[in-house]
Subunit: 341 residues, 2 copies
């Protein structure tokens, strides 16, 4: 079904587009009768206000921004290159904005939107479901990339199903005979992919008839540090070893953490996988070059980056498209895990 534009809604109601916008955005400066008329027209003609209202404020800047939390994370590096290429290919310019760990990316986006008169935004990493309400303040289209929290049906999103893929990884480790699988996890208050990967871990254990043992979950203590880093994987594994808890396998929620885990095991005189199996998540190039190569869940990063920009431009051009794009991850068996006899 062809969608009508905001201009057509305005014409049908006999009002200006700014009035339609005010109605959509619950602006106080509009009378109830007009608001009701606009909203009824919107419903009647299947107009999707979310996107087109955002286009109201489009300027001629021809700039889109990618906001990134965790710019040092190698997971994002190859994606940035694709973003830049895809944006340039559409004759737009590209702004990369780093968001500090402690910053709220929606605040940053709102500021940037004004300063740069952006046409669209991709949020890369970071965002949690708690910011959904705030996202509504943005007036340009946006796509949430690599984070699959449930933002509601209207929110544009490109990601793998982090909970499902994490569950698949742990099911694989269980199938290799591992019972006591330690988890290198995010922070306890994480409301983003760290939480989803933890849920997948727990679900696989419980549905596989194994015990979920909170003591084998190594939570990252403080937010503010780089959770998905080699350094953090190293520190958490050292703590795990020091705890004296028994385990045969470490599942880290990122490949970088898995590499940190391997190094901590090596430094403690242990071998991988002879003494302990180690698995990661993401499918970094590095996971393949590490010795031993890391068993991981490969996210199709380049394809996801292309899809993010594709979707953003679909929204900018007011196309009616599927707004939730879930990619499949691929289980890559490295030499860092072994089957128990």
């Amino acid at each position: 079904m062809e969608q009508i534009t905001i201009k057509e809604v305005a014409k049908l109601c006999g009002v200006g587009v700014s009035t339609v916008s005010r109605a959509i955005n619950n602006h106080p400066d509009i009378n109830d009768a007009t608001k009701q008329l606009v909203m009824e027209t919107i419903r009647k003609y299947n107009y999707v206000p979310n996107n087109s209202a955002r286009n109201l404020k489009r300027s001629d800047s021809h700039t889109v921004a990618v906001l990134i939390k965790g710019i040092t994370n190698p997971f994002f590096s190859a994606m940035i290159q694709v973003f830049e290429r895809e944006v340039s290919g559409r004759k737009y310019s590209f702004v990369l904005q780093h968001v500090e760990e402690f910053e709220d990316e929606v605040d940053v986006a709102l500021r940037l939107e004004k300063e740069k008169r952006l046409k669209g935004i991709v949020f890369l990493g970071g965002l949690s479901s708690r910011t959904e309400q705030k996202l509504q303040q943005l007036t340009v289209p946006y796509v949430i990339s690599t984070v699959d929290s449930d933002y509601g049906g209207e929110t544009a999103m490109v990601a793998v199903d982090n909970e499902r893929e994490s569950k698949r990884m742990v099911e694989y480790l269980i199938s290799c005979g591992h019972e006591k699988i330690a988890l290198l996890a995010s922070t306890k208050d994480d409301a983003s992919i760290g939480m989803l990967r933890h849920s997948g871990y727990r679900a696989a254990l419980e549905q596989g008839g194994r015990k979920y043992d909170e003591e084998l979950v190594m939570w990252t203590e403080a937010a503010g540090k780089e959770i998905y880093s080699m350094e953090n994987g190293y520190a958490l594994t050292k703590k795990l070893l020091d705890s004296g808890k028994e385990f045969t396998c470490i599942y880290a929620i990122s490949d970088s953490m898995a590499i940190g885990a391997c190094k901590a095991l090596f430094d403690a005189g242990k071998r991988v996988p002879e003494d302990y199996s180690v698995a990661g998540f993401d499918g970094l190039e590095l996971a393949a070059y590490y010795e031993p190569s890391i068993t991981t869940m490969r996210q199709p990063r380049r394809e996801m980056a292309e899809a993010s920009i594709g979707l953003l431009f679909d929204l900018i051009e007011e196309k009616e498209v599927e707004r939730r794009r879930i990619f499949e991850a691929e289980l890559v068996e490295g030499r860092s895990t072994k089957r128990l006899a």
Copy 2:
């Protein structure tokens, strides 16, 4: 000595600033007598036209750009974060522009300068000495970061002395008893840091009384691929092994290439360092987490990134400062190299 501004030069000559600018930039649209007067005044008052002429076209955009060649190179990731932080801290906005391998970064800079009305530019990686002439077309201050080609005294630059540090690494390897040291090199026509690191390698061998053997230099064949990558290090090492040439040590001009080299050796059933020593360059975090840890020449990346932005803002503010800032690299002995008996 206090420098005078372009406005003062204009006043002294009784002309407008745009006339001074035309004189400086060899613009055809200025008569010879006026031009001579301007140039004499400039010399007399020790005016440095390079920088201040660039400031002529400063707009109110408050934006600086970092142009980066090789955005997937992990060497740059941590630097980008520092750039962004340093720029934001000065209440400027930050544009990160990726430059494709085949693109000329000065062309990209000239386009961006116009589009974004930039106040300054940092070139990160890539640039070779062949572009010096072209750089003169830029009208805003710029700093060349991490590349220490000889651009002439006026060009602002932050880097390590790549030739000297590369020479130091090879001197260290020679001191460990290695005679036949293979080099994983850049392309033969490289005119940037790849060439400098090759020169350092050659100088160390020749000054150390060792033979420089062209057959032990594994040049990267085609430009356009990611020279400094694990993938390239892997491919070059495979080729080296296939060549049947004798060697006891591989020196790769980047840590990522060194890791690729280790992986190729492992895949061929060899051990590091028992069978072959491997050394890199850069001092990536990854080099420390690899097993074995990689012997490398650590560049102080964060400090260099801070210095690059500091210098750029000094130039934007027309401060008279030292324009060439050379940092020391640090030799980090990993477990990937051994002393021969």
